[in-house]
């Protein structure tokens, strides 16, 4: 029985560490996009390396969580739900990493008149990621608060959708952008950045179901 409580505590710690990584990913993403927009490419590339390192660390913790959940038969009732959440969070980290790598590989030119939109996208993506971490923590410890965080995630996702639409309109209506390929590339990066909040929304939707299951 003591063994059971010990393993439970270790699992709690692993999930906490995992959530810390998700939060850091959001912060790094925001900082990195700002640095890219400000043309500080060396700093940006360091951020890409940081996020790669975090992703590797997250994978190791994820494996530990999986082992503890399934090998040690911890939380048989909710382990499927917890594992699904971890998988979704993993995809959120993956998407964030991918977007940054694409910026690093393609080096899209961001004209001055749309820079603030990209900064806003990054800022709201970070806020959405933060709220995802808060919501998952609340699901584990204080589930009555989950709905409040879900509402915040939805709010930021909606904000990002609005910015995305506005940005696309601006990209295709502006005379400053001369080539279609450049317009298409910017549209692609706009959609890529919006993917982070789309994943945050998916996690929020999953949580809204899980929280009902936590009610007895």
């Amino acid at each position: 029985m003591i063994n059971l409580f010990g393993k439970t505590k270790q699992l709690e710690l692993d999930v906490k560490n995992y959530l810390c990584i998700v939060q850091k990913t959001g912060l790094i993403f925001n900082e990195a996009i700002n640095e890219y927009i400000e043309c500080e490419y060396d700093d940006f590339d360091k951020r890409v390396l940081d996020i790669n390192e975090l992703e590797t660390k997250a994978d190791t913790i994820k494996r530990n969580i999986k082992n503890k959940l399934y090998k040690n038969m911890l939380i048989p009732d909710a382990r499927g739900d917890v594992w699904e959440l971890i998988e979704l969070l993993d995809r959120l980290i993956g998407v964030t990493e991918k977007v940054m790598e694409n910026f690093s590989f393609e080096h899209p030119y961001i004209p001055e008149f749309i820079k603030r939109h990209f900064i806003k996208l990054a800022e709201n993506s970070q806020k959405a990621t933060d709220e995802v971490v808060n919501a998952v923590s609340a699901y584990l410890t204080n589930f009555t608060m989950v709905t409040d965080f879900i509402n915040k995630i939805m709010f930021f996702e909606h904000e990002i959708d609005k910015i995305e639409d506005l940005l696309k309109k601006t990209i295709f209506s502006s005379d400053e952008l001369k080539t279609l390929s450049h317009r298409i590339q910017l549209r692609y990066f706009t959609e890529q950045m919006a993917l982070v909040s789309d994943f945050a929304e998916r996690i929020a939707e999953k949580l809204s179901i899980l929280v009902i299951k936590r009610e007895i």
Partner: protein, 352 residues
């Protein structure tokens, strides 16, 4: 001689085996069905506590059955227990709700009629009242338990993983308590009819007098434990997963509530406490653990707003309250006739 004794006790032992095979799921089904506990661990805990409950606290409910009808020959007791077992089998085959407790009461009444003994209607009314009270009391306990559990869950900010560990430990403790209560309450169904014709004599072991009734109950308890170990796994997986659909916390409330009901209807200590406090005592009567579970689940359904509550199940149970004793008494009457006139065994000592 020993073979003859074992043969006559076999019907009771069979009842014990089937009780273990079926009713253990009511106390450990949740823990095993949800894979929170290994079946072997559950079966060992269940078996040990069932035997302890039967030997230590089994006398109360058995005494009430004795007041209903004191079967005074071993072959009579064998026939009564066999008739009860056949009733349970027939009704289960016919998909009718049945409880061993109600079958044994009907069988004893059948023996009273056959032997010409008067049935104490006062005792009958007490027993029937407990059948009615059993699911109601379980529902009341589960309503209170559910409200407390919900309050704790909403205010404790306990981590999901830690809550899960606590529930797992809770299910083991509640299962052990439930097994003890089940043994204490239901041993009367298994061995109660043999008490007055017990073939055993008292033994003194290390200064402790081990009465003939306790020896009978130990044997019955062992039969129940064998039933748990050999045949209850599948029932636990089926029933457990059905109950578990409620959520682990709710399932814990259900197990505790139904176990408390079984304990109340078996505990002589609690009865004495009630008498000394001037409260009308609760009669000690074997009740159905399955019906207690149904009552507890319905209670939770009610406190959740009454949606999805299948009230028809209560109607079905109440049909069983009437049909089971009647069918059991008819089968007993016929079986006693055959036992006496075909197999030439004395099934009763005539009243003076």
């Amino acid at each position: 001689m020993l073979i003859t004794i074992l043969f006559f006790l076999s019907s009771g032992l069979f009842l014990g085996w089937s009780l273990g095979a079926n009713d253990a799921a009511n106390v450990f089904g949740t823990a095993v069905g949800s894979k929170m506990l290994k079946f072997t661990t559950a079966a060992i805990i269940c078996g040990v506590f069932l035997i302890l409950g039967a030997v230590i606290s089994g006398a109360g409910a058995s005494h009430t059955l004795g007041k209903l009808g004191s079967i005074n020959t071993l072959s009579g007791a064998f026939t009564v227990a066999l008739a009860a077992a056949i009733t349970v089998f027939v009704m289960t085959k016919a998909c009718l709700p049945v409880s061993t407790s109600q079958a044994i009461v009907g069988a004893i009444i059948g023996w009273n009629i056959y032997a010409g003994y008067e049935t104490n209607l006062n005792v009958v009314s007490k027993i029937v009242a407990t059948w009615f009270l059993c699911p109601i009391l379980a529902a009341a306990f589960s309503i209170v338990g559910y409200i407390i559990a919900r309050w704790i869950l909403h205010h404790s900010k306990i981590h999901l993983f830690r809550l899960d560990s606590h529930i797992r430990v809770g299910l083991i403790i509640a299962g052990a308590f439930g097994s003890y209560s089940l043994g204490a309450n239901n041993i009367a169904n298994v061995m109660g009819v043999f008490v007055n014709s017990s073939p055993f004599t008292s033994i003194t072991l290390f200064g402790y007098v081990f009465s003939s009734t306790q020896q009978l109950f130990l044997l019955g308890g062992l039969a129940i434990a064998v039933g748990v170990y050999t045949y209850s796994k599948r029932v636990m997986m089926t029933v457990g997963s059905k109950i578990y659909a409620l959520s682990p916390m709710t399932a814990l409330v259900v197990v505790i509530s139904s176990s408390m009901v079984l304990f109340i209807f078996a505990s002589q200590g609690l009865q004495e406490l009630f008498i000394s406090a001037g409260i009308p005592p609760i009669p000690l009567v074997p009740v159905s653990s399955s019906q207690a579970v149904v009552g507890a689940v319905l209670g939770i359904g009610l406190v959740k707003g009454g949606r999805n509550v299948n009230f028809a199940i209560l109607g079905k149970i109440s049909i069983g309250w009437i049909a089971t004793p009647i069918i059991a008494s008819i089968i007993t009457f016929v079986a006693l006739f055959f036992m006496q006139n075909v197999f030439m065994n004395q099934v009763y000592v005539p009243p003076m």
